[in-house]
Subunit: 199 residues, 2 copies
Protein backbone atom coordinates (compact mmCIF):
# COMPACT_ATOMS: atom_id res chain seq x y z
CA UNK A 1 0.00 0.00 0.00
CA UNK A 2 1.10 3.60 -0.41
CA UNK A 3 1.34 6.08 2.45
CA UNK A 4 1.59 9.86 2.50
CA UNK A 5 5.26 11.00 2.36
CA UNK A 6 5.79 11.72 6.08
CA UNK A 7 4.26 8.41 7.12
CA UNK A 8 6.42 6.61 4.55
CA UNK A 9 9.52 8.42 5.86
CA UNK A 10 8.65 7.41 9.41
CA UNK A 11 8.20 3.77 8.33
CA UNK A 12 11.56 3.87 6.55
CA UNK A 13 13.29 5.49 9.54
CA UNK A 14 11.93 2.81 11.89
CA UNK A 15 13.69 0.18 9.76
CA UNK A 16 16.98 1.35 11.31
CA UNK A 17 15.93 -0.64 14.40
CA UNK A 18 17.33 -4.19 14.48
CA UNK A 19 14.86 -6.99 13.59
CA UNK A 20 12.17 -4.57 12.41
CA UNK A 21 10.83 -5.60 8.99
CA UNK A 22 8.55 -3.58 6.68
CA UNK A 23 5.26 -4.74 8.25
CA UNK A 24 6.44 -4.18 11.82
CA UNK A 25 7.65 -0.71 10.86
CA UNK A 26 4.22 0.10 9.39
CA UNK A 27 2.48 -1.04 12.56
CA UNK A 28 4.90 0.91 14.72
CA UNK A 29 4.34 4.09 12.69
CA UNK A 30 0.54 3.81 12.81
CA UNK A 31 0.60 2.92 16.50
CA UNK A 32 2.75 5.94 17.37
CA UNK A 33 0.79 8.40 15.24
CA UNK A 34 -2.69 7.20 16.19
CA UNK A 35 -2.27 6.10 19.78
CA UNK A 36 0.94 7.31 21.35
CA UNK A 37 2.12 10.66 20.03
CA UNK A 38 3.43 11.45 23.53
CA UNK A 39 5.55 8.31 23.48
CA UNK A 40 6.75 9.21 19.99
CA UNK A 41 7.83 12.70 21.09
CA UNK A 42 9.54 11.34 24.20
CA UNK A 43 11.40 8.82 22.02
CA UNK A 44 12.39 11.55 19.56
CA UNK A 45 13.81 13.71 22.34
CA UNK A 46 15.77 11.00 24.13
CA UNK A 47 17.19 9.66 20.84
CA UNK A 48 18.69 13.06 20.11
CA UNK A 49 19.95 13.55 23.65
CA UNK A 50 21.42 10.06 23.93
CA UNK A 51 23.20 10.27 20.57
CA UNK A 52 24.67 13.64 21.58
CA UNK A 53 25.74 12.70 25.10
CA UNK A 54 26.39 8.97 25.31
CA UNK A 55 30.02 8.13 24.69
CA UNK A 56 32.26 5.39 25.99
CA UNK A 57 33.38 4.57 29.53
CA UNK A 58 37.05 5.61 29.81
CA UNK A 59 37.89 2.39 31.64
CA UNK A 60 36.02 -0.43 29.88
CA UNK A 61 34.90 1.51 26.79
CA UNK A 62 31.31 0.32 26.82
CA UNK A 63 28.49 2.81 26.23
CA UNK A 64 27.91 5.41 28.95
CA UNK A 65 27.38 9.15 29.20
CA UNK A 66 29.51 9.20 32.34
CA UNK A 67 33.27 8.94 32.50
CA UNK A 68 32.84 5.62 34.27
CA UNK A 69 29.99 3.26 33.37
CA UNK A 70 27.63 1.68 35.91
CA UNK A 71 29.51 -1.63 35.75
CA UNK A 72 32.96 -0.10 36.34
CA UNK A 73 31.51 2.02 39.18
CA UNK A 74 29.66 -0.86 40.83
CA UNK A 75 30.88 -2.03 44.24
CA UNK A 76 29.39 -5.48 43.74
CA UNK A 77 31.36 -6.58 40.68
CA UNK A 78 34.31 -8.96 40.96
CA UNK A 79 37.33 -6.82 40.05
CA UNK A 80 39.69 -9.79 39.72
CA UNK A 81 38.19 -10.98 36.45
CA UNK A 82 38.05 -9.17 33.12
CA UNK A 83 36.04 -10.16 30.06
CA UNK A 84 37.34 -8.84 26.74
CA UNK A 85 34.78 -8.27 23.98
CA UNK A 86 34.56 -6.81 20.49
CA UNK A 87 31.62 -4.47 21.03
CA UNK A 88 29.30 -2.91 23.65
CA UNK A 89 26.47 -5.00 22.16
CA UNK A 90 28.40 -8.07 23.37
CA UNK A 91 28.51 -6.63 26.92
CA UNK A 92 24.74 -6.55 26.74
CA UNK A 93 24.59 -10.15 25.51
CA UNK A 94 26.82 -11.38 28.39
CA UNK A 95 24.95 -9.27 30.97
CA UNK A 96 21.62 -10.66 29.80
CA UNK A 97 22.80 -14.20 30.65
CA UNK A 98 23.01 -13.05 34.30
CA UNK A 99 25.89 -15.47 34.86
CA UNK A 100 28.88 -13.13 34.88
CA UNK A 101 29.81 -10.67 37.59
CA UNK A 102 33.28 -9.46 36.63
CA UNK A 103 34.39 -6.40 34.68
CA UNK A 104 34.68 -5.84 30.94
CA UNK A 105 37.00 -4.36 28.39
CA UNK A 106 35.50 -3.55 25.00
CA UNK A 107 37.79 -3.57 21.95
CA UNK A 108 36.91 -1.64 18.81
CA UNK A 109 36.23 -4.80 16.84
CA UNK A 110 38.82 -7.40 15.87
CA UNK A 111 42.21 -7.58 14.16
CA UNK A 112 41.90 -7.43 10.40
CA UNK A 113 45.28 -7.11 8.65
CA UNK A 114 43.59 -7.01 5.22
CA UNK A 115 41.75 -3.84 6.23
CA UNK A 116 44.85 -2.45 7.93
CA UNK A 117 43.29 -2.80 11.40
CA UNK A 118 46.05 -3.53 13.89
CA UNK A 119 46.31 -3.86 17.70
CA UNK A 120 46.35 -0.10 18.43
CA UNK A 121 43.21 0.47 16.35
CA UNK A 122 41.38 -1.97 18.64
CA UNK A 123 42.75 -0.43 21.82
CA UNK A 124 44.82 -3.49 22.75
CA UNK A 125 47.55 -1.11 24.00
CA UNK A 126 44.98 0.40 26.41
CA UNK A 127 43.86 -3.06 27.44
CA UNK A 128 47.46 -3.95 28.33
CA UNK A 129 47.89 -0.67 30.28
CA UNK A 130 44.68 -1.47 32.15
CA UNK A 131 45.78 -5.01 32.97
CA UNK A 132 49.14 -3.71 34.23
CA UNK A 133 47.47 -1.07 36.43
CA UNK A 134 45.00 -3.38 38.19
CA UNK A 135 44.95 -6.65 40.07
CA UNK A 136 43.29 -8.96 37.61
CA UNK A 137 43.60 -12.72 38.13
CA UNK A 138 41.82 -13.89 35.04
CA UNK A 139 41.16 -12.53 31.58
CA UNK A 140 38.30 -14.12 29.65
CA UNK A 141 38.74 -13.58 25.92
CA UNK A 142 35.20 -13.46 24.58
CA UNK A 143 35.82 -12.07 21.13
CA UNK A 144 33.53 -13.53 18.45
CA UNK A 145 34.11 -17.20 17.44
CA UNK A 146 35.11 -16.11 13.93
CA UNK A 147 38.53 -16.39 12.29
CA UNK A 148 39.29 -12.74 13.14
CA UNK A 149 37.93 -13.05 16.67
CA UNK A 150 40.06 -16.14 17.30
CA UNK A 151 43.14 -14.40 15.91
CA UNK A 152 42.46 -11.39 18.13
CA UNK A 153 42.09 -13.64 21.20
CA UNK A 154 45.35 -15.45 20.44
CA UNK A 155 47.16 -12.16 19.84
CA UNK A 156 46.06 -10.83 23.24
CA UNK A 157 46.91 -14.14 24.93
CA UNK A 158 50.45 -13.94 23.55
CA UNK A 159 50.79 -10.34 24.82
CA UNK A 160 49.81 -11.13 28.41
CA UNK A 161 51.63 -14.46 28.60
CA UNK A 162 54.57 -13.03 30.54
CA UNK A 163 52.33 -11.52 33.26
CA UNK A 164 51.38 -14.88 34.75
CA UNK A 165 47.66 -14.09 34.64
CA UNK A 166 45.17 -16.84 33.87
CA UNK A 167 43.88 -16.32 30.34
CA UNK A 168 40.77 -18.19 29.19
CA UNK A 169 38.72 -18.34 26.02
CA UNK A 170 34.94 -18.86 26.12
CA UNK A 171 34.09 -22.47 25.27
CA UNK A 172 32.97 -23.57 21.87
CA UNK A 173 29.35 -23.75 22.65
CA UNK A 174 28.93 -20.59 20.66
CA UNK A 175 28.58 -21.65 17.01
CA UNK A 176 31.76 -21.27 14.95
CA UNK A 177 31.46 -18.46 12.45
CA UNK A 178 28.59 -16.87 14.39
CA UNK A 179 28.28 -13.46 15.97
CA UNK A 180 28.15 -13.30 19.76
CA UNK A 181 25.31 -10.83 19.84
CA UNK A 182 22.89 -13.24 18.16
CA UNK A 183 23.62 -16.24 20.40
CA UNK A 184 20.84 -17.12 22.86
CA UNK A 185 21.48 -16.50 26.55
CA UNK A 186 21.55 -20.18 27.56
CA UNK A 187 24.24 -21.07 25.03
CA UNK A 188 26.23 -18.02 25.97
CA UNK A 189 26.03 -18.78 29.72
CA UNK A 190 27.19 -22.33 28.93
CA UNK A 191 30.07 -21.01 26.84
CA UNK A 192 31.15 -18.71 29.67
CA UNK A 193 31.01 -21.51 32.24
CA UNK A 194 32.91 -23.95 29.98
CA UNK A 195 35.74 -21.53 29.19
CA UNK A 196 39.18 -23.17 28.95
CA UNK A 197 42.66 -21.92 29.68
CA UNK A 198 44.63 -20.60 26.72
CA UNK A 199 47.89 -20.22 28.68
CA UNK B 1 21.90 -5.05 34.46
CA UNK B 2 22.05 -1.34 35.14
CA UNK B 3 22.68 1.29 32.50
CA UNK B 4 23.68 4.93 32.73
CA UNK B 5 20.58 7.19 33.01
CA UNK B 6 20.37 8.34 29.37
CA UNK B 7 20.75 4.79 28.06
CA UNK B 8 18.08 3.61 30.50
CA UNK B 9 15.76 6.42 29.39
CA UNK B 10 16.31 5.47 25.75
CA UNK B 11 15.53 1.80 26.53
CA UNK B 12 12.36 2.85 28.36
CA UNK B 13 11.29 5.17 25.54
CA UNK B 14 11.74 2.38 22.96
CA UNK B 15 9.19 0.32 24.90
CA UNK B 16 6.48 2.62 23.50
CA UNK B 17 6.85 0.64 20.26
CA UNK B 18 4.38 -2.24 19.91
CA UNK B 19 5.79 -5.76 20.56
CA UNK B 20 9.10 -4.45 21.87
CA UNK B 21 10.00 -6.13 25.18
CA UNK B 22 12.78 -5.15 27.61
CA UNK B 23 15.54 -7.17 25.92
CA UNK B 24 14.64 -6.01 22.42
CA UNK B 25 14.62 -2.42 23.66
CA UNK B 26 18.11 -2.88 25.14
CA UNK B 27 19.43 -4.27 21.86
CA UNK B 28 17.80 -1.48 19.90
CA UNK B 29 19.34 1.18 22.17
CA UNK B 30 22.84 -0.30 21.97
CA UNK B 31 22.53 -0.85 18.23
CA UNK B 32 21.51 2.76 17.62
CA UNK B 33 24.13 4.29 19.91
CA UNK B 34 27.04 2.10 18.83
CA UNK B 35 26.33 1.48 15.17
CA UNK B 36 23.72 3.78 13.74
CA UNK B 37 23.67 7.21 15.32
CA UNK B 38 22.75 8.66 11.92
CA UNK B 39 19.72 6.38 11.76
CA UNK B 40 18.82 7.37 15.33
CA UNK B 41 18.96 11.09 14.51
CA UNK B 42 16.94 10.60 11.31
CA UNK B 43 14.34 8.68 13.31
CA UNK B 44 14.25 11.39 15.99
CA UNK B 45 13.67 14.10 13.41
CA UNK B 46 10.94 12.32 11.45
CA UNK B 47 9.12 11.27 14.64
CA UNK B 48 8.79 14.91 15.65
CA UNK B 49 7.82 16.06 12.18
CA UNK B 50 5.28 13.26 11.65
CA UNK B 51 3.62 13.80 15.04
CA UNK B 52 3.35 17.53 14.30
CA UNK B 53 2.07 17.27 10.73
CA UNK B 54 0.24 13.98 10.24
CA UNK B 55 -3.47 14.31 10.85
CA UNK B 56 -6.47 12.55 9.35
CA UNK B 57 -7.77 12.42 5.80
CA UNK B 58 -10.87 14.61 5.65
CA UNK B 59 -12.71 11.99 3.60
CA UNK B 60 -11.89 8.59 5.11
CA UNK B 61 -10.23 9.82 8.34
CA UNK B 62 -7.22 7.52 8.15
CA UNK B 63 -3.74 8.92 8.88
CA UNK B 64 -2.32 11.39 6.37
CA UNK B 65 -0.59 14.76 6.40
CA UNK B 66 -2.56 15.74 3.29
CA UNK B 67 -6.21 16.73 3.16
CA UNK B 68 -6.87 13.59 1.14
CA UNK B 69 -4.94 10.38 1.82
CA UNK B 70 -3.20 8.31 -0.85
CA UNK B 71 -6.05 5.80 -0.94
CA UNK B 72 -8.81 8.41 -1.36
CA UNK B 73 -6.71 10.15 -4.05
CA UNK B 74 -5.90 6.96 -5.95
CA UNK B 75 -7.38 6.51 -9.42
CA UNK B 76 -7.12 2.74 -9.20
CA UNK B 77 -9.37 2.11 -6.19
CA UNK B 78 -12.92 0.84 -6.60
CA UNK B 79 -15.12 3.76 -5.50
CA UNK B 80 -18.29 1.70 -5.36
CA UNK B 81 -17.30 -0.17 -2.19
CA UNK B 82 -16.61 1.26 1.26
CA UNK B 83 -15.06 -0.58 4.22
CA UNK B 84 -15.89 0.86 7.65
CA UNK B 85 -13.30 0.35 10.40
CA UNK B 86 -12.65 1.40 13.99
CA UNK B 87 -9.10 2.69 13.57
CA UNK B 88 -6.38 3.60 11.02
CA UNK B 89 -4.40 0.60 12.32
CA UNK B 90 -7.19 -1.58 10.92
CA UNK B 91 -6.80 0.09 7.49
CA UNK B 92 -3.21 -1.06 7.63
CA UNK B 93 -4.27 -4.60 8.58
CA UNK B 94 -6.73 -4.83 5.66
CA UNK B 95 -4.27 -3.23 3.20
CA UNK B 96 -1.59 -5.73 4.21
CA UNK B 97 -3.84 -8.62 3.10
CA UNK B 98 -3.64 -7.20 -0.43
CA UNK B 99 -7.15 -8.50 -1.13
CA UNK B 100 -9.21 -5.31 -0.93
CA UNK B 101 -9.25 -2.50 -3.45
CA UNK B 102 -12.17 -0.30 -2.33
CA UNK B 103 -12.25 2.80 -0.15
CA UNK B 104 -12.36 3.14 3.64
CA UNK B 105 -14.10 5.09 6.34
CA UNK B 106 -12.45 5.11 9.75
CA UNK B 107 -14.63 5.60 12.82
CA UNK B 108 -13.20 6.90 16.09
CA UNK B 109 -13.58 3.52 17.81
CA UNK B 110 -16.90 1.85 18.62
CA UNK B 111 -20.17 2.64 20.37
CA UNK B 112 -19.85 2.40 24.14
CA UNK B 113 -22.96 3.66 25.96
CA UNK B 114 -21.33 2.95 29.36
CA UNK B 115 -18.55 5.43 28.55
CA UNK B 116 -21.04 7.85 27.01
CA UNK B 117 -19.66 7.28 23.51
CA UNK B 118 -22.48 7.67 21.01
CA UNK B 119 -22.81 7.75 17.19
CA UNK B 120 -21.63 11.38 16.76
CA UNK B 121 -18.49 10.72 18.80
CA UNK B 122 -17.54 8.01 16.30
CA UNK B 123 -18.30 10.14 13.27
CA UNK B 124 -21.25 8.01 12.16
CA UNK B 125 -23.04 11.22 11.11
CA UNK B 126 -20.10 12.01 8.79
CA UNK B 127 -20.15 8.44 7.48
CA UNK B 128 -23.85 8.86 6.58
CA UNK B 129 -23.17 12.23 4.88
CA UNK B 130 -20.37 10.58 2.92
CA UNK B 131 -22.58 7.66 1.84
CA UNK B 132 -25.29 10.06 0.74
CA UNK B 133 -22.85 12.18 -1.28
CA UNK B 134 -21.24 9.36 -3.26
CA UNK B 135 -22.23 6.38 -5.38
CA UNK B 136 -21.45 3.48 -3.12
CA UNK B 137 -22.96 0.08 -3.91
CA UNK B 138 -21.67 -1.84 -0.93
CA UNK B 139 -20.66 -1.03 2.61
CA UNK B 140 -18.48 -3.61 4.38
CA UNK B 141 -18.75 -3.24 8.13
CA UNK B 142 -15.37 -4.37 9.43
CA UNK B 143 -15.53 -3.13 13.00
CA UNK B 144 -13.85 -5.44 15.53
CA UNK B 145 -15.58 -8.79 16.26
CA UNK B 146 -16.20 -7.72 19.86
CA UNK B 147 -19.56 -7.00 21.52
CA UNK B 148 -19.07 -3.25 20.97
CA UNK B 149 -17.85 -3.71 17.39
CA UNK B 150 -20.90 -5.89 16.57
CA UNK B 151 -23.24 -3.35 18.15
CA UNK B 152 -21.60 -0.56 16.14
CA UNK B 153 -21.96 -2.56 12.91
CA UNK B 154 -25.64 -3.27 13.57
CA UNK B 155 -26.30 0.37 14.45
CA UNK B 156 -24.79 1.52 11.14
CA UNK B 157 -26.65 -1.20 9.21
CA UNK B 158 -29.95 0.04 10.65
CA UNK B 159 -29.09 3.62 9.68
CA UNK B 160 -28.39 2.86 6.02
CA UNK B 161 -31.19 0.31 5.59
CA UNK B 162 -33.46 2.78 3.80
CA UNK B 163 -30.84 3.66 1.18
CA UNK B 164 -31.03 0.31 -0.58
CA UNK B 165 -27.26 -0.16 -0.46
CA UNK B 166 -25.81 -3.63 0.07
CA UNK B 167 -24.45 -3.81 3.62
CA UNK B 168 -22.12 -6.67 4.57
CA UNK B 169 -20.26 -7.71 7.70
CA UNK B 170 -16.85 -9.41 7.48
CA UNK B 171 -17.19 -13.15 8.03
CA UNK B 172 -16.53 -14.80 11.33
CA UNK B 173 -13.16 -16.08 10.46
CA UNK B 174 -11.76 -13.40 12.69
CA UNK B 175 -11.77 -14.81 16.23
CA UNK B 176 -14.68 -13.59 18.37
CA UNK B 177 -13.52 -11.22 21.09
CA UNK B 178 -10.29 -10.48 19.23
CA UNK B 179 -8.88 -7.24 17.90
CA UNK B 180 -8.69 -6.84 14.13
CA UNK B 181 -5.21 -5.41 14.16
CA UNK B 182 -3.71 -8.59 15.63
CA UNK B 183 -5.35 -11.03 13.20
CA UNK B 184 -3.00 -12.57 10.62
CA UNK B 185 -3.37 -11.51 7.00
CA UNK B 186 -4.63 -14.88 5.74
CA UNK B 187 -7.49 -15.06 8.24
CA UNK B 188 -8.37 -11.46 7.56
CA UNK B 189 -8.39 -11.96 3.77
CA UNK B 190 -10.63 -15.00 4.28
CA UNK B 191 -12.94 -12.99 6.52
CA UNK B 192 -13.20 -10.25 3.89
CA UNK B 193 -13.96 -12.77 1.11
CA UNK B 194 -16.57 -14.60 3.22
CA UNK B 195 -18.46 -11.46 4.23
CA UNK B 196 -22.23 -11.92 4.42
CA UNK B 197 -25.11 -9.55 3.85
CA UNK B 198 -26.60 -7.89 6.90
CA UNK B 199 -29.53 -6.33 5.04
ZN1 LIG C 1 33.13 0.89 32.25
ZN1 LIG D 1 -8.68 9.08 2.82
Amino acid sequence: MSFSPLIQQLITALRCLPSVGPKSAQRMAFHLLERDSEGALALSEILQKAVAEVGHCRQCRTLSEHELCEICKSESRDRSILCVLESPVDVLAIEQTGGYNGLYFVLSGHLSPIDGIGPEDLGIDKLLDYIHATEINEIILATNPTVEGEATAHFIAAQVKELGIKVTRIAHGVPVGGELEFVDGGTLAHAMAGRRSLL
